[in-house]
Symmetry: C2
Subunit: 295 residues, 2 copies
């Protein structure tokens, strides 16, 4: 079986591409940059190039659609770009998959929910996103699921927890905290740091993509989050325990996603997936790896 | 005061442009086609042309953003176009309005709600659209309102009832029923025709745009619907009462919006708007006008 992994030059896409390879799939990478994952065939292309998307989708069995403007800061700065890539780009993927009868697994996000109305949040919870990143990821999800309902597409959306693991972007909260602590600079937490996150290891998420690709579950969204909740304050304190430094508290970021607990119950029932990497193990692995890169 | 009316060459945009003129505003029309509304300055431009949008928005006080892929059939056929125009295009409008400190009144739709969870539907009701038209209109709305929340934009979204009135598109249900009945052909209703619609006259909607433009209500969506509910069956029977023909019932359309009652209470409180044209009067006016055009 062949998978097209979009965004396979990025942090999460690389994990997804490697997992498909491990599980015996052939992998075609589709990204604006060349993918450095060993063993993939790399196509450099843009999600907004309809012909390139069509040809790439036609050549595989399943699309793992990870590519997006996934950097919340970039999405805030260029919301029109986030709208184009995340909504129009995903629609281009859905169109090609409908045309060629291919399956799509879409990287959505737990951030689509907005303020929790009840917890734990299941997939029936209303979606009230309020940031260009979350809004456009939900837009892509809705376009994909409507193609399932109206046009016979086989597809599923994974509402991913906050992903972490090797190869994280330098502007992720993990990298910012670790880099500052290692330089002995104080770590500044936005707000009081009580906002919880279900940090989900990229290797667990990658496994969910393979399971979803191999199933025929269609037309639904599935929360794909680790059960464990860690506050930003705990993250800062864990980092500061390894690299002693001061933890300070700054103003709340506007548009920051409110804390909430998201239930991964349905994906366990439907795909048999559950996160396996504990936060402690995953964070230590990440810090070990960043040290190894320096030496 | 000057208003930029996007989509001013289309059905609803023409009504909106005329109403602004009537109320003493200067009007700039922005559309891919030239607007035939007398007394407007017509700019031919595309919502996806960032520079054209920016220049047009800079030249006015308020934007009445009506332009969209508003034809549900076209949106279903070309979802990527609906995503581009309705989400990216609206984001371009919002960006320009943020940059130049202008106000935006956005044409959203009651169809953003999807299946009703309670009725009448107020603005707090969850949005679960499932058709490329509704999804992309909600996407544009969310991008606009997030610019209000995060970037200080002054803007409001009007969730419009199903608009009707002079200049309706030939593929609207009104025109299809009237044209068929006049030729003595049977009128075919999708499903059992029990689906209700709060048909809202374009002149009422146009008045809501002017009221919203003149207010400083911001960051919210307002249901802008007539209180009266008419079923599709009643519409068919009213048309057949004037032009005698048979009314038949066909299969339900996939993706058709479920019946629901939407509350216009908030807009009455906030803007003092309520629909004034009764459905009977509005439909008779439309049929009179179509007859006059023929003779």
């Amino acid at each position: 079986m062949r998978a097209l992994v979009t965004g396979a030059a990025g942090f999460l896409g690389r994990h997804v591409a490697r997992k498909f390879l491990e599980e015996g799939w052939e992998v075609i990478a589709f990204d604006t940059r060349e993918s450095d994952v060993e063993g993939v065939q790399s196509i450099q292309g843009d999600l907004l190039d309809v012909e390139a998307v069509d040809a790439a989708v036609a050549s595989v069995d399943v699309v793992a659609h990870v590519a997006a403007i996934g950097d919340v800061y970039l999405a805030a700065e260029k919301p029109e770009l986030a709208a184009a890539v995340n909504v129009v780009g995903t629609t281009n993927i859905a169109n090609a998959a409908v045309a060629h009868g291919k399956r799509v697994v879409y990287a959505s996000t737990w951030e689509v929910y907005g303020e929790p109305e009840y917890e734990p949040i299941d997939e029936e919870h209303p979606c009230r996103p309020d940031h260009p990143y979350n809004i456009t990821k939900l837009g892509g999800e809705m376009m994909l699921l409507s193609a399932c309902e109206l046009r016979g597409l086989s597809g599923v959306a994974l509402r991913l927890g906050t992903a972490y693991g090797s190869g994280l972007r330098p502007n992720s909260v993990f990298r910012i905290f670790i880099d500052r602590a290692k330089r002995g600079e104080p770590i500044t937490v936005a707000g009081d740091g009580s906002q919880g996150r279900q940090f989900t290891h990229a290797s667990d998420i990658a496994r969910a993509f393979v399971l979803a690709a191999e199933s025929d579950v269609s037309g639904i969204a599935l929360n794909t989050v680790a059960p464990e909740t860690t506050t930003i304050r705990e993250l800062a304190e864990r980092v500061a325990a390894r690299y002693p430094t001061e933890v300070t508290f700054g103003p709340k970021r506007p548009g920051d996603v409110p804390p909430s607990t998201v239930s991964p119950k349905k994906i366990e029932e439907v795909l048999g997936w559950r996160a396996e990497v504990s936060f402690e193990a995953g964070l230590n692995e990440l810090m070990d790896e960043l040290e190894a890169q320096e030496s």
